[in-house]
Amino acid sequence: MAYRGHKINPQRFEKSQLKIIAMILPIVFVMGLPIVFIFCHAFKPMEELFAYPPQFFVYNPTFENFTKLFKASRTAGIPMSRYAFNSILITASVVAASLLLTTMAAFALSKLRFKGKGMLMQINQTALMFVSVAVMIPRYLTVNVLGLTDTYLAHILPLVALPVALFLVKQFVDQVPDSLIEAAYIDGASDWHVYVRIIVPMIKPAIATAAILVFQQVWGNMETSNYYVNDEGLKTLTFYMNTLANANNTVAGQGMAAAAALIMFVPNLVLFIILQNNVMNTMAHSGIK
């Protein structure tokens, strides 16, 4: 039989797919097992954490590590709730600010016409390759000169502009048909109205994707706590958890570190699972032409 061209995204399961599953299953295992381990380790009781030979899976799951983690933080100078509060406040502010600014900019870049637009878009596209760790020092100097050191703004402002987010949202706004916008203008809508009533509701998948990307940047960020903030009371949960994770050489510490690792990882995972359809939808328009 002649080759017929295969089917992308098949609707039904066929035997030929088994071969493909067999091929990628090993990769899926290698990638997935460490994730399974993060979950298992956090719930291991003391004797399983230090069992010899070491055990990969958990047999008698317990919340011991989590209760220890919360107790330990109570005796510390600054309660964990303070770090958690900081992290939540900072993450929420950055995500909200970023989504507002990014969608507004994307609307302008995609649908409005004005001088310098092409250049501004090109600059943002070049900045996709921005490696923030490479310019840590000048960023630190900038934060310092602006007088932001030891304020919440030092955590928030440097992370608001995320070039990848603007790029993806802009690509998505391009898909909104001009005829819709035009009709609104004929009815006398202002640019702001078009943005709020038409653009924002139509690009929800891209907004969800941008939200995930920004969230991941902020939630796991340690640069701001390490370099821009000296006041312990203003540092984030990530910073605190990382201190724990690095001090896990003590016997009691390892369980707490494992619990901390899980607490930091789960929000990312849950958010992605909830929004994954939106992400795939956005990525379909992610191409750079």
């Binding site: 010899y52 302008a108 390759m129 921005f130 001009d178």
Partner: protein, 302 residues
């Protein structure tokens, strides 16, 4: 295109454009563009965070190329190895896996894609805990215990201070966490290729899935390939975090010292910020070169 004309008239020279763009670009310039400009400026000085910087011309760059043995002997080769394996290798792997996934039904594909994507979400804290435990240097370490069980080694290996193993370990972890946004973009790209192209190609004599991949799939999703390439490049050069997290900075014997670690070493440990700036400018330059190469490969010429 009557409609287009109307919309463009309405918006020609629309001052509101600047109002909508302003807030984003204001922050973008302050925290992304200006730091890069400052880095370029500082790279021509001997700034040490205490005294006022003095202009030294190209001295930092000359020193980087001719005087910095650690850079030439360890940092540069390590960075090249890491970038090739994690950047290029991870990219090819992402493509092949995404291509395989596109042949599966949606439920299976979604579960697999989630598993493959999740390592890139783990973040510093979970990574530190996970991999430090895996590579613990005595017999209680997971890897040591498994290898001893299998009889591969007889004595536990102290993985994270061993100069022979440190870089391979960092590369492995880099690869493990490399299937991020770029991978999703490739997957979405493949899923959106036009199916009639495949049918036409089969009639025109395409004989195998491999031919189909090279002749149809890749050319019809070049924009996604380019986006993913850019994401891979950034990921590959940002990888320094893994080294520091596992083995501190500087890494033992500079075995896993990458360019970002070198920047951090000079900037925040030795306070030779002018020199550190020169290294970061060199790094940004290298990234730019890679991106030009990928644009040549996948860019669509008008």
């Amino acid at each position: 295109m009557k409609g287009r004309n109307k919309i463009s008239k309405r918006e020609q020279g629309n001052k509101n454009g600047y109002l909508f763009l302003g807030p984003y670009y204001f922050i973008f310039f302050i925290f992304i563009i200006i730091p890069v400009v400052i880095a370029i400026g500082l790279s021509f000085t001997n700034f040490n965070a205490i005294e006022f910087p003095g202009f030294t011309g190209f001295l930092n760059y000359i020193n980087l190329l001719t005087n910095d043995e650690i850079f030439m002997q360890y940092v540069l080769p390590n960075t090249v190895k890491y970038a090739l394996i994690v950047g290029v290798g991870g990219y090819v792997l992402s493509f092949l896996v995404a291509w395989a996934l596109s042949n599966l039904t949606k439920p299976i594909r979604t579960v697999f894609a989630l598993i493959l994507y999740s390592p890139s979400m783990t973040g510093a804290v979970a990574m530190t805990v996970l991999w430090k435990i895996m590579f613990t240097g005595d017999q209680t370490g997971y890897l040591n215990s498994w290898l001893m069980n299998l009889g591969v080694i007889t004595e536990p290996v102290i993985w994270l201070v061993n100069v022979d193993y440190l870089l391979p370990i960092v590369i492995f972890i880099g690869l493990w966490s490399s299937m991020g946004v770029g991978f999703l973009a490739i997957l979405a790209g493949i899923l959106n290729t036009d199916e009639s192209l495949y049918e036409a190609a089969a009639i025109d004599g395409v004989k195998s899935r491999f031919q189909e991949m090279i002749l149809i799939t890749i050319p019809s999703m070049k924009p996604q390939m380019l986006f993913a390439a850019v994401m891979s490049i950034v990921g590959a050069f940002q990888g320094g975090m893994i080294s520091t997290m596992l083995a501190g900075n500087p890494t033992p014997g500079y075995a896993a010292q990458l360019m970002v670690n070198h920047v951090e070493d000079y900037g925040f440990i030795r306070y030779e910020m002018g020199y550190a700036a020169a290294i970061s400018v060199a790094l940004l330059g290298i990234i730019q070169i890679f991106s030009i190469v990928s644009t040549r490969l996948f860019g669509e010429r008008d």
